[in-house]
């Protein structure tokens, strides 16, 4: 009889330990998503800082391309006012499209294209765009791991009790994944 009580005791101990491990795992997964998002945010800020410098460089050359330049400023404003992942994704998409438009229009200004400052900024922004694309992919992988885990047994039981909900992916349109190739 004592043996049976011991086994029951160990089963209860095992369930308590399992609950603690699963709970801690869910917390880590959630924190991984926050960290992944923060790491994208850092690059988005850097990109807008570089874009501000780019506007200062090109506005002397592209006096009559007001829409292209104001679109970049509008993208920054959308980013600053964004609440949540969807707003961020929309501002990022708009910024990406505006940047591509600016670089496409810059093709019509040979003096600008020859400017070392412009080329340097263009290269840096392209690099940042690639890194942003990588980190968006990383963020989406992190969210997918979390979303899958909260549906798997036995995580779904504890996730359900504690109110863990599905997280949104950072959805990019097909155009956002293209990087403008300036060698063409």
């Amino acid at each position: 009889m004592i043996g049976l009580y011991i086994i029951i005791g160990f089963i209860i101990l095992f369930l308590i330990i399992a609950f603690i491990i699963i709970y801690n795992n869910l917390v880590k997964l959630k924190n991984n998503i926050s960290k992944a998002w923060a790491n994208i945010d850092v690059l988005l800020k850097q990109r807008f800082d570089e874009l501000s410098k780019l506007i200062d460089t090109v506005k002397g050359y592209m006096k009559y391309e007001k829409k292209v330049l104001t679109d970049i400023t509008k993208a920054r404003s959308m980013y600053d006012n964004a609440k949540g992942i969807k707003d961020m994704a929309d501002s990022n998409k708009f910024a990406h499209e505006s940047t591509n438009n600016l670089f496409a229009v810059a093709e019509n200004y040979p003096d600008l294209k020859a400017s070392k400052n412009f080329l340097k900024l263009q290269s840096r922004i392209t690099e940042l765009e690639n890194m942003i694309a990588d980190r968006r992919e990383f963020f989406n992988d992190t969210v997918t791991i979390y979303n899958t885990r909260i549906k798997q047994i036995p995580y779904n039981t504890i996730a359900g009790i504690l109110g863990y909900k599905r997280k949104e992916l950072f959805v990019a349109s097909g155009e956002e994944k293209k990087v403008v190739d300036f060698d063409k």
Binding site: G3, K28, N39, M131, F138
Partner: protein, 279 residues
Amino acid sequence: MWNYSRDLGKLVIISTIAFIFFVFILPGNDSDYLFYSLLAALAIFIFGLVFTIKVFKERSIIKNIPHSKIRSVAIGLSEIVGTAKSITTLKTPVSNQDCVYYRYIVRQYVSGKNSSWELKKDEASSQNFLIKDETGEIEIDPSNVDGYLRLRKAYFAPLDLSKIFSKDESEKYFKNLEEIPIVDGNEKSKILFPKDGDRKYYEYYLLPGDDVYVLGTVSAKEQSDKLFIHKGINDKYFILGNNNENTVLKQVNRRLLLLSFLLVLGVFGLAYAVPLIFT
């Protein structure tokens, strides 16, 4: 550094035999021996519990973190998959191959009542090397890494060999070692009648171009903005493996299974021994 994977299997076998002896055979009706049986069961249970939790946490970390691309890797604990590339010349100690990282273990046979292949040396290289993927490359400082590398080479050296070659003739000595065949990272043949002083040499290594998996802390080098991977002060996980995450996970899962077996053994041992003490 303990040769974890190989020795864990042996530990489980020894623990099971010890468990059966101390818990079922030795006590009989003797209460003094019952106390020892309780201790044996408790020791196996605690060991099993602590290390099962440890390995389970390790497995969770590996599964929870997605791969990062090198060009966009963030500071902190990160997981990277790529190919190995050397920075400086490094040779494996016995097989003398160009490599980027090695771990080298020497065991010597000790005969007698508790005959075994005792660990004489366990050494790993500490030279930095690079991991490369399609987006760039990053340096790794492999000091204090937890290696999940496959056994690549194993050699047998009878004691007589060290009598023929002096310490200065180590190159000739190593060239005359008998290679033990390896299949899937395991020794294919056993030395049936080893003698006192016989040695075995094991090499685990990464060659330039090998597929590599690493989970470690990414930091910026001092006085530089270049990033590198190392064992972080706050992050205790630093894993280096052949191939990819799945290969490493297979080894981790094997450890988890063996440790869980010890844990269950301990539970049943306690469930058996405690009531006998009270009755």
